[in-house]
Symmetry: C2
């Protein structure tokens, strides 16, 4: 079963909600130790609290890397735990390199024995920096999400530059569609996905037409300002083909002892908001 | 002392040679165990063999990450060892993200207690993905090298797209110069550097004029095809301001028991080639 088929099945059973695991030490709630073991406890708690609602979790690698090898140990434990709970695990590492180095990254995260289902990747290097990831993804039924139009304020500095009749991110979108079209599952979606920010709804609408076979990973919901209405354009006409990430608004919904209950509630509210945006 | 000043001093005492530590398990020489501890032994051996010739080492993070937490443990040990030997340590991670996540990456690698002097970063996200690195670099006298024009064949797919009267990588070069100009040391070079591939000498010549205050990290020498004549244009008129990386041609110069002697010889030959390219 291809990554996209697994993803679609999981979304159908749960929701398009992706819970971003950004365990910043200084934001951990009451009762959680500010250490690697505290991060493990916290992430497991968030996974337990949201696994019946969310389709995916997205551990943000920087927050684990900052604790060096000990943090990476916890990163792999968190991925393993999330995988065991049935969640789709997207490692947010925005990795990028070329040749055998790119292969090493692909082997690190998308090998057959990895609990990670997909990895985010950054496209500045062109297809040399993408093809090794695609090879491994296809071989091991994993996926990648390529940055196309990101949610941040300065994303336009490079991504919106005009080139010919289009913006750089539109050109990138067509490259992603061309890379992805050769690797389509039974549901007509590719194992090559795209990151498209919730904070640029007009761009998202057009990008959906440029990338009809590409699953979207949509960051920027909640704390960054994106709404359910904003992200609706990222989905296919049948309401599938995209996942929407929220991090802080779910995992730090409460800084008190009730953080798990607050996370369940926040994820549940988000799932309902997304549902309603499609039925209206 | 700023990163650029430290770098210039070190180049003056040694050479512009940067030894890329790409310890691919399947390429380790005779007598080295294909394991995390083998990688540590190998990297320490290469450091010992080249520390009197090279100014910098550039551990390529992918080859450590592929061994998960154990590999990252070795990565930090290698950085620490290289730092103790007086080498400038450039972590090649091509990290990139925004906001507090970008801060976490910066804290992970450019903190005051880190043995790493500089980190490579990827610019697709715009200044939101660069500023947190710059803040930490300035504060802790560290550096970054931003990908501008990379050495690989497909680098042009995005980097050479025309925008207005220039290419995307030229536009990026001007951004890097503008970011770097505010953080210049006594030698007129910034702690913000640029990655400019040896395989595009004409582009490099022009990029040097666009980024007069920016140290260049030049990959693509040796195995990738760049020559001493090709990289000469990346240096400032006084023959400083750039380091040239070679990985495979030095570290895998021999697959036999004489790999250390072969590495010393290869690094030494490269230093001489670079020297000659300036004195001719």
């Amino acid at each position: 079963m291809t990554f996209a088929d697994t993803l679609q099945d999981r979304i159908a059973k749960t929701s398009p909600v992706c819970v971003g695991l950004d365990p910043a030490l200084d934001k951990l709630p009451e009762g959680i130790d500010r250490s690697a073991s505290g991060i493990l406890e916290f992430c497991k708690g968030i996974i337990d609290a949201t696994k019946d609602i969310a389709s995916c979790v997205k551990p943000q690698m920087a927050y684990f890397e900052v604790l060096r090898a000990e943090g990476m140990n916890v990163f792999w434990d968190v991925c393993e735990y999330a995988h065991q709970q049935g969640l789709i695990v997207i490692a947010d590492g925005k990795r990028n390199d070329i040749g055998s180095t790119c292969e090493a990254y692909a082997d690190a995260y998308l090998s057959s024995d990895s609990p990670i289902d997909a990895l985010t990747v950054s496209p500045y290097l062109g297809s040399d920096g993408i093809t090794p990831f695609i090879d491994r993804a296809v071989k091991h039924e994993k996926g990648i999400f390529v940055l196309v139009k990101t949610s941040n304020l300065s994303s336009g500095e490079l991504q919106d530059l005009p080139t010919g009749d289009e913006a750089v991110h539109e050109h990138m979108a067509q490259l992603v569609e061309s890379w992805g079209r050769n690797h389509i599952g039974k549901n007509q979606l590719s194992c090559i996905g795209a990151v498209v920010g919730a904070t640029y709804p007009e761009e998202m609408k057009y990008l959906r037409t440029l990338m009809p076979h590409i699953p979207f990973l949509i960051p920027g919901y909640g704390a960054q300002g994106g709404t359910a209405k904003d992200v609706a354009h990222g989905f296919l006409p049948d309401g599938t083909g995209a996942i929407v990430n929220a991090s802080r608004s779910i995992i730090f919904a409460s800084s008190k002892k009730d953080w798990k209950e607050a996370a369940t509630k926040a994820a549940s509210t988000m799932a309902k908001e997304l549902q309603e945006a499609f039925t209206k």
